[in-house]
Amino acid sequence: MSTIFGIPAPALYGQILIGLINGSFYALLSLGLAVIFGLLRVINFAHGAQYMLGAFAAYLLLNYVGIGYWPSLMLAPLIVGAVAVVIERTMLSRLYSLDPLYGLLLTFGLALIFEGMFRYWFGAAGKPYSPPAQLAGGVNLGFMFMPIYRGWVVIASLVICLGTWLLIEKTRLGAYLRAATENATLVQAFGVNVPRLLTLTYGLGAALAALAGVLAAPIYQVSPLMGSNLIIIVFAVVVVGGMGSILGAIVTGYMLGVLEGLTKVFYPEASSIVIFVIMAIVLLVRPAGLFGREE
């Protein structure tokens, strides 16, 4: 059996594949974060909480309303997106003219509230959620046992990422949004309904987070804390990719997933900070991130 750095090659393939799967979550979450940051200049600290809300929405829909996984995949993002729209209308929209710091602080506060309330209601240990019957089980790939559900996650996230990217980069919408982040008043003075645009964008970003949450529910415990640690990593992903660059967020998400996976093999203790090491190096060498535009 061939080995690479003392690790059997098939085991390494397995690890790379796993890294890619985790990367899907990073990509999906950082996508939403990048959309919100890139377009609203708000660092959405509530993103982790919205991801958690998505997972809980799925859990609650199943256990209290009897709605299963597939409809939840649509419904949960809608619900969370609607909540986000309300947040944007009533709170965030007042902060656009200020330093981005305030958006960060507001969403940080909201994250504390959501997480605290859910912990209060549901406890910290988390709730179970099973994958849909169609996706249960796994296949043996020879070098590893691959749960079918994880395969589905990779495919779903790729499709969503691509779709969002096309929506934003290839339509006029993207130009409006980018311009509005710089000078919303002027864009509005050109006749664009900027407030509505921003509301929808925030809703979309949050819905993406919720979607990731539903996808994650069958894999991780549905727990009030599931997003709180993730947010900071995902945020690093966005920064490495280049803040505001949608493509950067996606590519970096997958890439860092793999890198983190490899770290888990070679120096597992450091797997939690490998992303930060990479972020520090990237920012020192390429200040605007891998795909960012220097300003």
């Binding site: 130009a175 008043t185 003075a189 050109f190 006749g191 309904n193 535009r293």
Partner: protein, 235 residues
């Protein structure tokens, strides 16, 4: 109905935060007319434009476009009603390239200039169309800011010092453009320091001082009012 003003401003007051800047400004612009606001630095010219556009929200008085009250409209509706604005600080977007900047404002009517026409008018923009908006030279940014509203088909242009920082040839060209636009029936409210330029295009002048209108006269009578200009502008 050539006499009913297209844009009518009555007793306009405006504030920046607590400070009261416009004190009862009256202004009429008839359809197809080019009106120039003159005044020293800090007289309130920019503020007048910003208040009309609704960019400055704290204002009182009457602003009517064809009888429709603009004061209550949300900002984007003002633009949709046909007002095009070229801000003093140009407002070029760094995150968009030149072409994207140009294409950014949605069309409000079909009568705007085509992109080819615009590029013919400002060859610099064509040459630099893929570079980042704010990487343009100061003058090129000014051209872009003007070009941007010409595309939209806005019927009334509010131009804040459009010739600032432009080379004399370009100033001359812009003068020609304004004259051409006028012939097409465009209505223009111009703020200008360079009145050698302004006299070429203006049908009427308004004089501002300390947030008030202190005089108004038809374009051809400019020479007759030189004394007043001297006093207000220090020419």
């Amino acid at each position: 109905m050539r006499d009913a003003p297209l844009l009518e401003v009555r007793d306009l007051n405006a504030w920046y935060g607590e400070s009261h800047v416009l004190h009862g400004v009256d202004l009429d612009i008839r359809e197809g007319e080019t009106v120039t606001l003159l005044g020293r630095n800090g007289a309130g010219k920019t503020t007048t434009l910003r208040a009309i556009m609704g960019i400055l929200r704290r204002r009182e008085g009457v602003i009517r476009l064809r009888g429709q009250d603009l004061l209550k409209l949300p900002l984007h509706k003002v633009a949709q009603a046909g007002l095009g604005y070229v801000p003093e600080e140009r407002g070029i977007f760094a995150s968009l390239n030149v072409a994207e900047n140009l294409m950014l404002p949605p069309k409000v009517a079909e009568s705007g200039m085509s992109v080819e026409e615009i590029y013919r008018l400002f060859p610099n923009l064509h040459e630099r169309r893929t570079s980042q908006g704010t990487k343009l030279s100061g003058g090129e940014q000014q051209m872009l800011a003007i070009a941007r509203v010409l595309r939209t088909g806005a019927k009334i242009l509010l131009l804040d010092e459009p010739t600032e920082g432009l080379a004399p040839v370009i100033v001359q060209r812009i003068g020609d453009v304004l004259v051409a636009l006028k012939e097409r029936g465009m209505t223009i409210l111009l703020v200008e320091q360079n009145f050698r330029f302004a006299r070429k295009v203006a049908d009427r002048f308004y004089l501002m001082e300390d947030g008030r209108m202190v005089g108004s006269f038809p374009g051809p009578e400019l020479d007759a009012h030189m004394d007043q200009l001297h006093e207000v502008l220090g020419v």
